[in-house]
């Protein structure tokens, strides 16, 4: 399925992937942590479970995508490398 892929095409495809709207990121933007703390507090456990589940699923999806990218056949760079003749 990846036959004929170029580095430019691959970059274009990866750049076109829509950002995922993760609940954890929304929570981080909405809830400022208390002074001296790194993370927001006082959020219902059920909300945190949902956000964590969401983040875990995203991590898994990223791992799977990275695994598939590692399986790609070599792609010609199409970038002139001046040092090559040396």
């Amino acid at each position: 399925m990846f036959n004929g892929m170029t580095s430019h095409n691959l970059t274009r495809i990866l750049s076109a992937v829509e950002p995922v709207d993760l609940k954890a990121l929304a929570l981080l933007r909405q809830r400022r942590p208390q002074p001296g703390r790194w993370f927001p507090t006082g959020i219902a456990t059920s909300t945190l479970v949902e956000a964590t589940h969401d983040l875990m699923a995203y991590t898994q999806a990223c791992r799977a995508a990275a695994g598939r990218l590692r399986q790609l056949p070599p792609i010609p760079l199409g970038i002139p490398i001046e040092e090559w003749p040396l």
Binding site: P19, L22, A24, L25, L28, R29, R32, P33, P35, G36, W38, F39, P40, T41, T45, L48, V49, A51, T52, H53, L55, M56, T59
Partner: protein, 306 residues
């Protein structure tokens, strides 16, 4: 006095967090550190070098794999500054809600396999009388088996006990279900390897250890350990019945004698009598929780009745 610089320094952390939470990549890193820091650790190394040191990563690994809510609560507890002891107490308490019969008293145990309640008896060992005096007394009192008995004596008693047990199971009521379970435990006939083997026999037999990270192993350990609890509770009740009900104790003696005579005469058919039943005990709906008489009766019905 100029305090501007100090104020700026105190505000720096807040500013960094604000900037991170509004940056695409950094907010992802912040979210990972906040909610799922465990995926950043090297999970292949979890079981190395944690024995006798720190089992928290193993506990987090198990929670991460199987119980999202427990994982979240544990991570938030660690963020809030829990000590190892507080984490251990919380995790063990929560774990017992999922698996009440897996004896996890301390996180330190998680460096080893899932604990199993291996409690088989050695009827011909001199240690039985000191470790289980009431069971040793029952074996001697009803089957004349003690530490001086031969293997042949024990095999004969084993055959008798099996016929008695079948008859007790056929009564389909308490206290006979408890008596049946007690005899099966005494003669290693339960079919549960935790009850039918001593610790040495169990591991010599080549049973594989059960692993924390496999949910099916945890389920199996819970099921097997719970069966052990049911049988041990039934055994205690049966011993109490024999003490408090001379009619049942006499019936057991008479029936053992009847089966022994039938075996000697090579007569397979022998009718065994038991005292009339009182009020019929109701079987429980499930054997998953509890170890009471109703659970014992249902367990016998489910596992041993033809």
């Amino acid at each position: 006095m100029n305090t501007g610089a100090a104020t700026d320094l105190l505000d720096a952390g807040e500013l960094v967090i604000y900037a991170m939470s509004h940056d695409g990549h950094l907010s992802l890193a912040l979210a990972g550190a906040w909610l799922d820091p465990f995926h950043l650790s090297d999970q292949d190394c979890l079981y190395e070098d944690v024995l006798d040191t720190d089992s928290i990563p193993i506990a987090l690994s198990v929670a991460h794999s199987h119980w999202p809510r427990l994982y979240v609560e544990a991570i938030q507890g660690l963020h809030s500054g829990w000590t190892s002891a507080e984490f251990s107490a919380f995790f063990c308490a929560q774990f017992r809600r999922y698996y009440p019969d897996i004896p996890l008293g301390d996180l330190g145990n998680m460096g080893y396999d899932v604990p199993l309640t291996i409690c088989g008896l050695e009827p011909l060992s001199f240690t039985l009388a000191s470790e289980h005096p009431r069971l040793a007394a029952a074996l001697e009192g009803y089957f004349t088996i003690n530490q001086d008995s031969s293997e042949k004596d024990f095999d004969s008693a084993h055959s008798i006990a099996w016929r008695i047990t079948r008859s007790l199971i056929g009564q389909d009521c308490q206290p006979y279900a408890d008596l049946a379970l007690m005899l099966m435990y005494l003669f290693a006939q339960t079919g549960n390897d935790l009850l039918d083997h001593t610790i040495d026999e169990f591991w010599d037999a080549g049973f594989r250890p059960l692993y924390w990270e496999r949910k099916e192993d945890l389920e199996e350990a819970q099921r097997a350990n719970h069966q052990v609890s049911i049988v041990l509770a039934a055994t205690e009740r049966a011993l109490a019945t024999l003490d408090s009900r001379p009619d049942i104790a006499a019936a057991l003696r008479n029936n053992i004698l009847a089966v022994q005579t039938a075996i000697e005469r090579n007569n397979p058919d022998v009718s065994l009598d038991w005292p009339a039943r009182g009020r019929r005990a109701r079987a429980a709906r499930s054997t998953k929780r509890g170890t009471g008489p109703g659970v014992g009766l249902l367990f016998v019905r489910d596992c041993y009745a033809d």
